[in-house]
Subunit: 264 residues, 2 copies
Protein backbone atom coordinates (compact mmCIF):
# COMPACT_ATOMS: atom_id res chain seq x y z
CA UNK A 1 0.00 0.00 0.00
CA UNK A 2 1.93 2.99 -1.32
CA UNK A 3 -0.98 5.38 -0.89
CA UNK A 4 -3.83 5.48 1.64
CA UNK A 5 -7.04 5.76 -0.39
CA UNK A 6 -10.26 7.01 1.17
CA UNK A 7 -13.81 7.45 -0.09
CA UNK A 8 -15.05 11.00 -0.34
CA UNK A 9 -18.01 10.26 1.96
CA UNK A 10 -15.67 9.00 4.70
CA UNK A 11 -14.19 12.47 5.21
CA UNK A 12 -15.54 14.89 7.82
CA UNK A 13 -13.95 18.35 7.85
CA UNK A 14 -10.68 17.03 6.34
CA UNK A 15 -10.26 14.29 8.95
CA UNK A 16 -11.13 10.62 8.83
CA UNK A 17 -10.89 7.80 11.35
CA UNK A 18 -9.88 4.48 9.81
CA UNK A 19 -10.73 1.15 11.44
CA UNK A 20 -10.01 -1.37 8.70
CA UNK A 21 -6.95 -2.76 6.88
CA UNK A 22 -5.81 0.81 6.21
CA UNK A 23 -5.59 1.47 9.97
CA UNK A 24 -3.73 -1.80 10.39
CA UNK A 25 -1.33 -0.88 7.60
CA UNK A 26 -0.58 2.52 9.15
CA UNK A 27 -0.16 1.24 12.71
CA UNK A 28 1.47 -2.16 12.18
CA UNK A 29 3.32 -2.04 8.85
CA UNK A 30 4.29 1.63 8.64
CA UNK A 31 4.45 1.94 12.46
CA UNK A 32 3.38 5.58 12.06
CA UNK A 33 3.15 7.98 14.98
CA UNK A 34 1.15 11.18 15.42
CA UNK A 35 2.65 13.89 13.25
CA UNK A 36 3.89 11.55 10.52
CA UNK A 37 2.99 12.40 6.93
CA UNK A 38 1.70 9.69 4.62
CA UNK A 39 0.85 9.66 0.93
CA UNK A 40 -2.94 9.71 0.58
CA UNK A 41 -5.67 10.23 -1.98
CA UNK A 42 -9.40 10.44 -2.43
CA UNK A 43 -10.83 7.71 -4.66
CA UNK A 44 -11.62 9.22 -8.07
CA UNK A 45 -10.34 12.54 -6.73
CA UNK A 46 -7.10 14.39 -6.00
CA UNK A 47 -4.10 13.03 -4.08
CA UNK A 48 -1.63 14.52 -1.62
CA UNK A 49 -0.75 13.74 1.97
CA UNK A 50 -2.32 12.71 5.24
CA UNK A 51 -1.03 13.75 8.64
CA UNK A 52 -1.43 11.13 11.33
CA UNK A 53 -3.36 12.65 14.26
CA UNK A 54 -3.86 9.61 16.50
CA UNK A 55 -2.85 5.95 16.42
CA UNK A 56 -4.53 3.31 18.53
CA UNK A 57 -4.39 -0.43 18.06
CA UNK A 58 -7.28 -0.69 15.62
CA UNK A 59 -8.07 2.93 14.95
CA UNK A 60 -6.07 5.61 13.15
CA UNK A 61 -7.15 9.20 12.62
CA UNK A 62 -5.62 11.22 9.82
CA UNK A 63 -6.05 14.73 8.39
CA UNK A 64 -6.04 14.94 4.61
CA UNK A 65 -4.41 17.54 2.38
CA UNK A 66 -5.19 16.36 -1.16
CA UNK A 67 -4.77 18.92 -3.91
CA UNK A 68 -2.59 17.21 -6.52
CA UNK A 69 -3.63 15.61 -9.77
CA UNK A 70 -3.15 11.82 -9.82
CA UNK A 71 -0.63 10.50 -12.40
CA UNK A 72 -1.60 10.45 -16.08
CA UNK A 73 -3.55 7.45 -17.30
CA UNK A 74 -2.45 4.98 -19.98
CA UNK A 75 -3.64 5.54 -23.56
CA UNK A 76 -4.61 1.90 -24.10
CA UNK A 77 -8.02 0.37 -23.35
CA UNK A 78 -7.87 -3.34 -22.52
CA UNK A 79 -10.20 -6.00 -23.94
CA UNK A 80 -9.68 -9.17 -21.94
CA UNK A 81 -11.21 -12.61 -22.40
CA UNK A 82 -12.28 -13.48 -18.86
CA UNK A 83 -9.47 -15.47 -17.21
CA UNK A 84 -9.86 -17.83 -14.26
CA UNK A 85 -10.72 -15.96 -11.06
CA UNK A 86 -7.29 -15.91 -9.44
CA UNK A 87 -5.76 -14.53 -12.65
CA UNK A 88 -8.62 -12.07 -13.10
CA UNK A 89 -7.91 -10.61 -9.67
CA UNK A 90 -4.21 -10.31 -10.42
CA UNK A 91 -4.66 -8.87 -13.90
CA UNK A 92 -7.23 -6.27 -12.78
CA UNK A 93 -4.77 -5.10 -10.12
CA UNK A 94 -1.92 -5.02 -12.67
CA UNK A 95 -3.98 -3.07 -15.20
CA UNK A 96 -5.13 -0.57 -12.56
CA UNK A 97 -1.53 -0.18 -11.35
CA UNK A 98 -0.40 0.51 -14.91
CA UNK A 99 -3.01 3.24 -15.29
CA UNK A 100 -5.47 1.56 -17.63
CA UNK A 101 -8.69 3.59 -17.75
CA UNK A 102 -11.01 1.15 -19.44
CA UNK A 103 -11.22 -2.64 -19.18
CA UNK A 104 -13.74 -4.68 -21.16
CA UNK A 105 -14.14 -8.24 -19.90
CA UNK A 106 -15.52 -10.37 -22.70
CA UNK A 107 -16.61 -13.92 -23.34
CA UNK A 108 -14.80 -16.11 -25.88
CA UNK A 109 -15.02 -19.72 -27.02
CA UNK A 110 -12.27 -20.87 -24.69
CA UNK A 111 -13.50 -18.97 -21.61
CA UNK A 112 -14.88 -21.52 -19.14
CA UNK A 113 -18.57 -21.00 -18.35
CA UNK A 114 -17.88 -21.33 -14.62
CA UNK A 115 -15.78 -18.16 -14.64
CA UNK A 116 -18.97 -16.12 -15.02
CA UNK A 117 -20.22 -17.27 -11.62
CA UNK A 118 -17.04 -16.33 -9.76
CA UNK A 119 -17.36 -13.81 -6.93
CA UNK A 120 -14.23 -12.21 -8.38
CA UNK A 121 -16.43 -11.00 -11.24
CA UNK A 122 -18.91 -9.29 -8.89
CA UNK A 123 -18.76 -5.48 -8.71
CA UNK A 124 -17.30 -5.77 -5.19
CA UNK A 125 -14.68 -8.32 -6.29
CA UNK A 126 -13.64 -6.21 -9.25
CA UNK A 127 -13.50 -3.03 -7.20
CA UNK A 128 -11.34 -4.64 -4.51
CA UNK A 129 -8.82 -5.85 -7.11
CA UNK A 130 -8.70 -2.44 -8.80
CA UNK A 131 -8.19 -0.63 -5.49
CA UNK A 132 -5.30 -2.95 -4.69
CA UNK A 133 -3.65 -1.90 -7.95
CA UNK A 134 -4.22 1.81 -7.30
CA UNK A 135 -2.87 1.48 -3.74
CA UNK A 136 0.25 -0.18 -5.14
CA UNK A 137 0.85 2.33 -7.92
CA UNK A 138 -0.10 5.53 -6.11
CA UNK A 139 -3.16 6.48 -8.14
CA UNK A 140 -6.72 7.45 -7.17
CA UNK A 141 -8.78 7.00 -10.32
CA UNK A 142 -10.56 3.67 -10.69
CA UNK A 143 -10.62 2.19 -14.18
CA UNK A 144 -14.05 1.61 -15.64
CA UNK A 145 -14.78 -2.09 -16.07
CA UNK A 146 -17.59 -3.51 -18.21
CA UNK A 147 -18.69 -7.10 -18.68
CA UNK A 148 -19.72 -8.44 -22.09
CA UNK A 149 -21.10 -11.98 -21.80
CA UNK A 150 -21.75 -12.38 -25.55
CA UNK A 151 -18.78 -12.22 -27.91
CA UNK A 152 -20.47 -11.49 -31.21
CA UNK A 153 -22.70 -8.57 -30.13
CA UNK A 154 -19.68 -7.05 -28.42
CA UNK A 155 -17.50 -7.25 -31.50
CA UNK A 156 -20.11 -6.46 -34.11
CA UNK A 157 -22.39 -3.96 -32.37
CA UNK A 158 -20.73 -2.50 -29.30
CA UNK A 159 -17.26 -1.81 -30.71
CA UNK A 160 -17.34 1.33 -32.86
CA UNK A 161 -16.39 0.55 -36.48
CA UNK A 162 -12.72 1.09 -37.31
CA UNK A 163 -11.77 4.36 -38.97
CA UNK A 164 -9.02 4.88 -41.54
CA UNK A 165 -5.99 6.29 -39.70
CA UNK A 166 -7.90 5.76 -36.46
CA UNK A 167 -6.24 4.70 -33.22
CA UNK A 168 -4.40 1.39 -33.02
CA UNK A 169 -6.34 -1.82 -32.45
CA UNK A 170 -4.07 -4.64 -31.36
CA UNK A 171 -4.96 -8.32 -31.08
CA UNK A 172 -2.59 -10.32 -28.89
CA UNK A 173 -1.77 -13.62 -30.54
CA UNK A 174 1.52 -15.52 -30.32
CA UNK A 175 3.25 -15.64 -33.68
CA UNK A 176 6.34 -17.10 -35.25
CA UNK A 177 7.42 -13.61 -36.19
CA UNK A 178 9.61 -11.62 -33.81
CA UNK A 179 8.02 -8.57 -32.22
CA UNK A 180 9.71 -6.13 -34.61
CA UNK A 181 7.97 -7.67 -37.60
CA UNK A 182 4.65 -8.03 -35.85
CA UNK A 183 4.56 -4.39 -34.89
CA UNK A 184 6.31 -2.89 -37.92
CA UNK A 185 3.13 -1.92 -39.74
CA UNK A 186 1.45 -0.27 -36.77
CA UNK A 187 0.30 3.31 -36.99
CA UNK A 188 0.50 5.94 -34.30
CA UNK A 189 -2.60 6.30 -32.13
CA UNK A 190 -4.84 9.31 -31.65
CA UNK A 191 -6.39 10.40 -28.40
CA UNK A 192 -9.69 12.03 -27.72
CA UNK A 193 -13.09 11.55 -26.10
CA UNK A 194 -14.90 8.23 -26.35
CA UNK A 195 -17.98 7.64 -28.45
CA UNK A 196 -21.05 7.27 -26.25
CA UNK A 197 -22.08 3.68 -27.03
CA UNK A 198 -23.78 1.96 -24.10
CA UNK A 199 -22.53 -1.28 -22.52
CA UNK A 200 -23.15 -3.00 -19.19
CA UNK A 201 -21.45 -0.79 -16.62
CA UNK A 202 -20.25 -2.60 -13.54
CA UNK A 203 -19.55 0.53 -11.59
CA UNK A 204 -23.11 1.77 -11.71
CA UNK A 205 -22.09 5.37 -12.43
CA UNK A 206 -22.24 7.14 -15.80
CA UNK A 207 -23.29 4.98 -18.77
CA UNK A 208 -20.32 2.98 -20.02
CA UNK A 209 -18.99 3.52 -23.51
CA UNK A 210 -16.74 1.38 -25.64
CA UNK A 211 -13.96 3.79 -26.55
CA UNK A 212 -13.75 4.67 -30.23
CA UNK A 213 -10.87 7.09 -30.06
CA UNK A 214 -8.57 5.23 -27.77
CA UNK A 215 -5.93 2.63 -28.63
CA UNK A 216 -7.20 -0.88 -27.83
CA UNK A 217 -5.43 -4.11 -26.92
CA UNK A 218 -7.34 -7.42 -26.92
CA UNK A 219 -5.84 -10.34 -24.98
CA UNK A 220 -7.31 -13.83 -25.35
CA UNK A 221 -8.10 -16.72 -23.01
CA UNK A 222 -5.82 -19.59 -21.99
CA UNK A 223 -5.66 -21.67 -25.14
CA UNK A 224 -5.94 -18.56 -27.31
CA UNK A 225 -8.58 -17.11 -29.61
CA UNK A 226 -10.32 -19.44 -32.08
CA UNK A 227 -10.15 -18.63 -35.80
CA UNK A 228 -13.70 -17.23 -35.84
CA UNK A 229 -12.76 -14.74 -33.14
CA UNK A 230 -9.54 -13.75 -34.88
CA UNK A 231 -11.51 -13.08 -38.07
CA UNK A 232 -14.07 -10.99 -36.19
CA UNK A 233 -11.33 -8.87 -34.66
CA UNK A 234 -9.61 -8.53 -38.06
CA UNK A 235 -12.86 -7.20 -39.58
CA UNK A 236 -12.92 -4.59 -36.83
CA UNK A 237 -9.46 -3.39 -37.78
CA UNK A 238 -7.40 -5.27 -35.19
CA UNK A 239 -3.77 -6.01 -36.12
CA UNK A 240 -1.96 -9.09 -34.74
CA UNK A 241 0.40 -8.10 -31.94
CA UNK A 242 2.68 -10.38 -30.02
CA UNK A 243 5.86 -10.83 -28.11
CA UNK A 244 7.09 -13.49 -30.55
CA UNK A 245 6.48 -17.24 -30.39
CA UNK A 246 6.50 -17.53 -26.60
CA UNK A 247 3.13 -18.25 -24.98
CA UNK A 248 2.86 -16.00 -21.93
CA UNK A 249 0.49 -16.54 -19.04
CA UNK A 250 -2.13 -13.81 -18.83
CA UNK A 251 -0.52 -12.14 -15.79
CA UNK A 252 2.70 -11.81 -17.81
CA UNK A 253 1.06 -11.08 -21.17
CA UNK A 254 -0.98 -8.15 -19.84
CA UNK A 255 1.96 -6.12 -18.45
CA UNK A 256 4.24 -7.02 -21.39
CA UNK A 257 1.78 -6.16 -24.14
CA UNK A 258 0.37 -3.10 -22.37
CA UNK A 259 3.89 -1.75 -21.93
CA UNK A 260 4.71 -2.37 -25.60
CA UNK A 261 1.39 -0.88 -26.76
CA UNK A 262 2.00 2.24 -24.66
CA UNK A 263 5.53 2.53 -26.05
CA UNK A 264 4.39 2.40 -29.69
Amino acid sequence: MNIILVEHHEITADTITLRDRRAEHISRILKSRPGDLLRAGIIDGPMGSAQVLAVARREVTIRLDCRQEPPAKAATALILAIPRPIMLKRVLAQAAAMGVQRIMLINARRVEKSFFHSSQLSPAGIRAALLQGLEQAGDTRLPEVTLHPRFRPFIEDQLPPPRPNGPLRLLAHPTKKPVEMATASLRQSETGPDDPLPAGNLRGAAPAAVPARRQMLAIGPEGGWVDFEINCFAKQGFTPFSWGPRILRVDTAVPVLLALAEAL
Copy 2:
Protein backbone atom coordinates in the same frame (compact mmCIF):
# COMPACT_ATOMS: atom_id res chain seq x y z
CA MET B 1 1.94 -26.70 -19.73
CA ASN B 2 2.35 -25.82 -23.41
CA ILE B 3 5.32 -28.17 -23.90
CA ILE B 4 6.21 -31.48 -22.24
CA LEU B 5 9.82 -31.13 -21.03
CA VAL B 6 11.96 -34.17 -20.28
CA GLU B 7 15.45 -34.65 -18.93
CA HIS B 8 17.96 -36.14 -21.34
CA HIS B 9 18.71 -39.01 -18.94
CA GLU B 10 15.03 -40.01 -18.80
CA ILE B 11 15.04 -41.03 -22.47
CA THR B 12 15.68 -44.61 -23.58
CA ALA B 13 15.83 -45.17 -27.34
CA ASP B 14 13.63 -42.14 -28.04
CA THR B 15 10.87 -43.26 -25.70
CA ILE B 16 10.11 -42.26 -22.14
CA THR B 17 7.51 -43.34 -19.61
CA LEU B 18 6.20 -40.49 -17.46
CA ARG B 19 4.67 -41.10 -14.02
CA ASP B 20 4.52 -37.61 -12.53
CA ARG B 21 2.58 -34.36 -13.12
CA ARG B 22 3.49 -34.56 -16.80
CA ALA B 23 1.65 -37.90 -17.11
CA GLU B 24 -1.28 -36.40 -15.26
CA HIS B 25 -1.31 -33.37 -17.54
CA ILE B 26 -1.31 -35.56 -20.67
CA SER B 27 -3.96 -37.99 -19.45
CA ARG B 28 -6.28 -35.73 -17.45
CA ILE B 29 -5.94 -32.21 -18.85
CA LEU B 30 -5.10 -32.88 -22.48
CA LYS B 31 -7.04 -36.20 -22.46
CA SER B 32 -4.58 -37.50 -25.04
CA ARG B 33 -4.93 -40.91 -26.68
CA PRO B 34 -2.35 -43.16 -28.31
CA GLY B 35 -1.28 -41.67 -31.62
CA ASP B 36 -1.76 -38.03 -30.55
CA LEU B 37 1.12 -35.64 -31.16
CA LEU B 38 2.18 -33.25 -28.39
CA ARG B 39 4.71 -30.44 -28.30
CA ALA B 40 7.78 -31.67 -26.43
CA GLY B 41 11.37 -30.76 -25.71
CA ILE B 42 14.53 -31.93 -23.98
CA ILE B 43 15.65 -29.67 -21.14
CA ASP B 44 18.62 -27.61 -22.36
CA GLY B 45 18.29 -29.36 -25.72
CA PRO B 46 16.19 -29.34 -28.90
CA MET B 47 12.40 -29.32 -29.10
CA GLY B 48 9.85 -30.90 -31.40
CA SER B 49 7.03 -33.35 -30.85
CA ALA B 50 6.12 -36.42 -28.82
CA GLN B 51 3.82 -39.15 -30.04
CA VAL B 52 1.68 -40.70 -27.33
CA LEU B 53 2.26 -44.46 -27.33
CA ALA B 54 0.27 -45.55 -24.28
CA VAL B 55 -1.93 -43.82 -21.70
CA ALA B 56 -2.80 -45.40 -18.37
CA ARG B 57 -4.20 -43.64 -15.32
CA ARG B 58 -0.85 -42.64 -13.85
CA GLU B 59 1.56 -43.61 -16.58
CA VAL B 60 2.04 -42.21 -20.07
CA THR B 61 4.59 -43.44 -22.61
CA ILE B 62 5.67 -41.11 -25.40
CA ARG B 63 8.14 -41.26 -28.30
CA LEU B 64 10.17 -38.11 -28.86
CA ASP B 65 11.13 -36.46 -32.13
CA CYS B 66 13.05 -33.36 -31.08
CA ARG B 67 15.19 -31.74 -33.75
CA GLN B 68 14.19 -28.06 -33.69
CA GLU B 69 16.01 -25.16 -32.10
CA PRO B 70 14.15 -23.63 -29.14
CA PRO B 71 13.04 -19.98 -29.57
CA ALA B 72 15.64 -17.22 -29.40
CA LYS B 73 16.55 -15.94 -25.97
CA ALA B 74 16.12 -12.39 -24.71
CA ALA B 75 19.08 -10.01 -24.93
CA THR B 76 18.64 -8.70 -21.39
CA ALA B 77 20.22 -10.16 -18.25
CA LEU B 78 18.21 -9.53 -15.09
CA ILE B 79 19.62 -8.33 -11.77
CA LEU B 80 16.94 -8.74 -9.13
CA ALA B 81 16.97 -7.77 -5.46
CA ILE B 82 15.61 -10.92 -3.80
CA PRO B 83 11.83 -10.52 -3.40
CA ARG B 84 9.66 -12.37 -0.89
CA PRO B 85 9.42 -16.07 -1.70
CA ILE B 86 6.00 -16.12 -3.37
CA MET B 87 7.04 -13.25 -5.64
CA LEU B 88 10.43 -14.84 -6.32
CA LYS B 89 8.71 -17.98 -7.57
CA ARG B 90 6.39 -15.98 -9.82
CA VAL B 91 9.11 -13.69 -11.16
CA LEU B 92 11.51 -16.55 -11.93
CA ALA B 93 8.75 -18.24 -13.94
CA GLN B 94 7.93 -14.96 -15.73
CA ALA B 95 11.58 -14.29 -16.58
CA ALA B 96 12.08 -17.86 -17.85
CA ALA B 97 8.89 -17.60 -19.92
CA MET B 98 10.14 -14.35 -21.45
CA GLY B 99 13.42 -16.00 -22.47
CA VAL B 100 15.83 -14.40 -20.00
CA GLN B 101 19.12 -16.29 -20.08
CA ARG B 102 20.79 -14.94 -16.98
CA ILE B 103 19.29 -13.94 -13.61
CA MET B 104 21.42 -12.54 -10.78
CA LEU B 105 19.64 -12.57 -7.41
CA ILE B 106 21.28 -10.01 -5.17
CA ASN B 107 21.03 -8.68 -1.66
CA ALA B 108 20.10 -5.05 -0.99
CA ARG B 109 19.42 -2.92 2.08
CA ARG B 110 15.66 -3.42 1.87
CA VAL B 111 15.79 -7.18 1.22
CA GLU B 112 14.53 -8.95 4.34
CA LYS B 113 17.12 -11.27 5.88
CA SER B 114 14.57 -14.07 6.20
CA PHE B 115 14.24 -14.30 2.42
CA PHE B 116 17.67 -15.94 2.27
CA HIS B 117 16.41 -18.92 4.23
CA SER B 118 13.40 -19.56 1.99
CA SER B 119 13.18 -22.96 0.30
CA GLN B 120 12.20 -21.04 -2.83
CA LEU B 121 15.83 -19.90 -3.00
CA SER B 122 17.18 -23.47 -2.95
CA PRO B 123 18.48 -24.86 -6.24
CA ALA B 124 15.44 -27.18 -6.40
CA GLY B 125 13.02 -24.34 -5.70
CA ILE B 126 14.59 -22.12 -8.33
CA ARG B 127 14.69 -24.90 -10.90
CA ALA B 128 11.02 -25.78 -10.37
CA ALA B 129 9.96 -22.15 -10.90
CA LEU B 130 12.11 -21.83 -14.04
CA LEU B 131 10.74 -25.07 -15.51
CA GLN B 132 7.20 -23.81 -14.95
CA GLY B 133 8.06 -20.73 -17.01
CA LEU B 134 9.63 -22.79 -19.81
CA GLU B 135 6.64 -25.16 -19.89
CA GLN B 136 4.34 -22.16 -20.21
CA ALA B 137 6.32 -20.42 -22.95
CA GLY B 138 7.40 -23.44 -24.99
CA ASP B 139 11.15 -23.24 -24.42
CA THR B 140 13.72 -25.81 -23.32
CA ARG B 141 16.73 -23.80 -22.17
CA LEU B 142 16.93 -23.05 -18.46
CA PRO B 143 18.19 -19.60 -17.52
CA GLU B 144 21.32 -19.51 -15.40
CA VAL B 145 20.60 -18.18 -11.92
CA THR B 146 23.26 -17.00 -9.49
CA LEU B 147 22.93 -15.83 -5.91
CA HIS B 148 24.93 -12.86 -4.58
CA PRO B 149 24.42 -12.44 -0.82
CA ARG B 150 26.69 -9.38 -0.53
CA PHE B 151 25.72 -6.25 -2.43
CA ARG B 152 29.00 -4.38 -2.52
CA PRO B 153 31.29 -7.18 -3.73
CA PHE B 154 28.74 -7.96 -6.41
CA ILE B 155 28.58 -4.39 -7.68
CA GLU B 156 32.23 -3.50 -7.27
CA ASP B 157 34.05 -6.74 -8.04
CA GLN B 158 31.78 -9.19 -9.82
CA LEU B 159 30.17 -6.86 -12.34
CA PRO B 160 32.60 -6.14 -15.19
CA PRO B 161 33.45 -2.42 -15.40
CA PRO B 162 31.29 -0.43 -17.83
CA ARG B 163 32.75 0.22 -21.27
CA PRO B 164 32.22 3.32 -23.39
CA ASN B 165 29.55 2.46 -25.98
CA GLY B 166 29.09 -0.87 -24.20
CA PRO B 167 25.73 -2.58 -23.84
CA LEU B 168 22.90 -0.88 -21.96
CA ARG B 169 22.80 -1.02 -18.17
CA LEU B 170 19.37 -0.07 -16.83
CA LEU B 171 18.43 0.61 -13.22
CA ALA B 172 14.71 0.39 -12.52
CA HIS B 173 13.63 3.24 -10.31
CA PRO B 174 10.26 5.02 -10.35
CA THR B 175 10.66 8.59 -11.52
CA LYS B 176 8.55 11.67 -12.06
CA LYS B 177 9.66 11.68 -15.67
CA PRO B 178 7.57 9.85 -18.27
CA VAL B 179 9.18 6.80 -19.84
CA GLU B 180 10.06 8.64 -23.05
CA MET B 181 12.31 11.04 -21.17
CA ALA B 182 13.78 8.42 -18.92
CA THR B 183 14.83 6.26 -21.84
CA ALA B 184 15.60 8.96 -24.39
CA SER B 185 19.34 8.94 -23.85
CA LEU B 186 19.74 5.17 -24.04
CA ARG B 187 22.12 3.65 -26.54
CA GLN B 188 21.62 0.51 -28.57
CA SER B 189 23.00 -2.68 -27.01
CA GLU B 190 25.69 -5.00 -28.36
CA THR B 191 25.61 -8.76 -28.15
CA GLY B 192 28.41 -11.25 -27.79
CA PRO B 193 29.96 -13.80 -25.44
CA ASP B 194 30.12 -13.15 -21.70
CA ASP B 195 33.31 -12.39 -19.82
CA PRO B 196 34.36 -15.32 -17.63
CA LEU B 197 34.08 -13.80 -14.16
CA PRO B 198 33.21 -16.35 -11.48
CA ALA B 199 30.12 -16.09 -9.25
CA GLY B 200 28.19 -18.56 -7.12
CA ASN B 201 26.48 -20.86 -9.63
CA LEU B 202 23.27 -22.40 -8.40
CA ARG B 203 22.97 -24.84 -11.25
CA GLY B 204 26.24 -26.61 -10.48
CA ALA B 205 27.28 -26.77 -14.14
CA ALA B 206 29.90 -24.59 -15.86
CA PRO B 207 31.37 -21.75 -13.76
CA ALA B 208 28.95 -18.83 -13.74
CA ALA B 209 29.92 -15.51 -15.25
CA VAL B 210 28.44 -12.07 -14.81
CA PRO B 211 27.77 -11.01 -18.38
CA ALA B 212 29.87 -8.11 -19.62
CA ARG B 213 28.56 -7.96 -23.14
CA ARG B 214 24.86 -8.28 -22.50
CA GLN B 215 22.27 -5.62 -21.78
CA MET B 216 21.42 -5.60 -18.06
CA LEU B 217 18.33 -4.56 -16.14
CA ALA B 218 18.45 -4.19 -12.34
CA ILE B 219 15.14 -4.23 -10.42
CA GLY B 220 15.07 -3.30 -6.73
CA PRO B 221 13.29 -4.60 -3.63
CA GLU B 222 9.89 -3.58 -2.27
CA GLY B 223 10.59 -0.12 -0.89
CA GLY B 224 13.15 0.53 -3.62
CA TRP B 225 16.92 0.94 -3.72
CA VAL B 226 18.57 3.15 -1.09
CA ASP B 227 20.70 6.09 -2.25
CA PHE B 228 23.96 4.23 -1.60
CA GLU B 229 22.86 1.45 -3.93
CA ILE B 230 21.70 3.88 -6.62
CA ASN B 231 25.11 5.58 -6.48
CA CYS B 232 26.92 2.24 -6.75
CA PHE B 233 24.89 1.30 -9.82
CA ALA B 234 25.49 4.74 -11.34
CA LYS B 235 29.27 4.29 -10.93
CA GLN B 236 28.93 1.03 -12.85
CA GLY B 237 27.28 2.79 -15.76
CA PHE B 238 23.64 2.07 -14.97
CA THR B 239 21.08 4.58 -16.32
CA PRO B 240 17.76 5.18 -14.50
CA PHE B 241 14.92 3.40 -16.26
CA SER B 242 11.27 3.46 -15.32
CA TRP B 243 7.70 3.27 -16.37
CA GLY B 244 6.96 6.73 -14.98
CA PRO B 245 5.86 7.64 -11.46
CA ARG B 246 3.76 4.52 -10.84
CA ILE B 247 5.18 2.04 -8.33
CA LEU B 248 4.71 -1.42 -9.80
CA ARG B 249 4.80 -4.64 -7.81
CA VAL B 250 7.77 -6.79 -8.79
CA ASP B 251 5.64 -9.31 -10.72
CA THR B 252 4.37 -6.42 -12.87
CA ALA B 253 7.64 -4.46 -12.99
CA VAL B 254 9.67 -7.42 -14.29
CA PRO B 255 7.53 -8.13 -17.39
CA VAL B 256 6.96 -4.41 -18.10
CA LEU B 257 10.59 -3.35 -17.84
CA LEU B 258 11.97 -6.47 -19.53
CA ALA B 259 9.61 -5.90 -22.47
CA LEU B 260 10.64 -2.24 -22.73
CA ALA B 261 14.35 -3.09 -22.39
CA GLU B 262 14.06 -5.70 -25.15
CA ALA B 263 12.21 -3.22 -27.37
CA LEU B 264 14.91 -0.52 -27.05
